[in-house]
């Protein structure tokens, strides 16, 4: 495949603008390749973020033709519309510069949702054996492959409408730990996500599931949290 792609890249901060570049189209070219081509050949001051290039680190997510995507695993051939690509930083987050969004709030919300493992044993205890076939482990595994790319967070209108909302990724992580039988932090975790801005803010739009590059279903995780917190509330534990 040859020819040129008309690539519009966001330049500047929130009050910036799109600037257009002509980038040669190649076979098996990813959106990240296009951005890298611009930085190496057209404008070395272009800022963007990436690390692993193989869909594991979650650093390179951007808005591509209006949709949040992991750019290192998105082929241009799949997303070009009329020979054009419009690439901006992730939505629902402040812009640092160009294509780099500020993820501080996103990760603060992981902390607020108690998305951190709370050990129930010490290093002196023997390692607890968990059957991979047990129901809680299956539930934990279903949500565990999150790479923190913030694509779901950028795709969620509830995040846009409610700045306190923890968002799909943080709640999905909380659900993984709620199901982890080795974790001892569920009391504080359920209390944290039962507050305003917690799991009950979710309207089940399922945009997170629609856009998740790893095909996870945060809506289902959040529904699980709604059940757990409701049970805890009715029992008077919250």
């Amino acid at each position: 495949m040859t020819g040129m792609i008309e690539v519009s890249l966001w330049r500047g901060k929130a009050d910036g603008r799109y600037q257009t570049y002509q980038v040669p189209q190649r076979a098996n070219q990813t959106v990240l390749d296009v951005v890298t081509w611009v930085q190496r050949n057209a404008d070395p001051t272009l800022s963007y973020r990436f690390a692993c290039r193989v869909g594991m680190c979650g650093s390179c997510a951007m808005t591509v033709n209006g949709r949040p995507r992991w750019t290192c695993r998105t082929h241009t051939s799949k997303v070009i519309e009329d020979g054009k690509l419009e690439i901006g930083p992730l939505a629902n987050l402040p812009v640092i510069k160009d294509l780099a969004a500020d993820l501080t709030r996103f990760f603060e919300k992981w902390q607020r949702a108690k998305g951190v493992f709370a050990p129930s044993k010490t290093r002196k205890d023997p390692i607890e054996r968990i059957s991979p076939a047990s129901a809680p482990r299956i539930a934990a595994d279903a949500a565990i492959e999150c790479i923190n790319c913030a694509v779901c967070y950028a795709a969620c209108d509830t995040v846009r409408w409610n700045e306190d909302y923890l968002g799909p990724a943080a709640l999905n992580r909380a659900w993984t730990l709620v199901n982890d039988v080795k974790d001892a932090g569920n009391k504080t975790r359920l209390a944290a996500i039962a507050e305003a801005g917690g799991c009950h803010a979710c309207h089940s739009h399922q945009s997170c599931q629609e856009h998740c590059p790893n095909k996870l279903n945060p809506t289902a995780s959040i529904a699980g949290l709604k059940r757990r917190t409701m049970q805890a509330y009715i029992k008077g534990e919250l």
């Binding site: 799109y18 901006g88 939505a91 209108d157 089940s204 739009h205 945009s207 629609e210 709604k226």
Partner: protein, 119 residues
Amino acid sequence: MSARQLHTTAPRRNALWVAAMVHRISGLALACFLPLHFLTLGLALQGEARLDSTLRWMDNPLFKIGETMLVFLLAVHMLGGLRVLLIENMPWREGQKDLALAALAIAACVAFAFLVGAV
């Protein structure tokens, strides 16, 4: 206009986002209608004749269309709400777009049946 708004239309291209909008707008419309509904029925406090004259005044095609809309809103809000309760309280079920579409279609049929029956 060099500075184009930085935005994403991604959430709104999703049918289930539209379903949530239908649910929200129908709920809001019903919430606006209910005080009027209650005030009308409250006219019976001033006697049967007072309520009856108002009901007769409302007996025209314009109100029939309005009532048909209300039947649709009530049905679509209830069915959409049942879908949400299903998501939140039952094991996960794929095919939510089909369920949302079914809710819309059933509500439309109910409203159409009301219109046909009422004319």
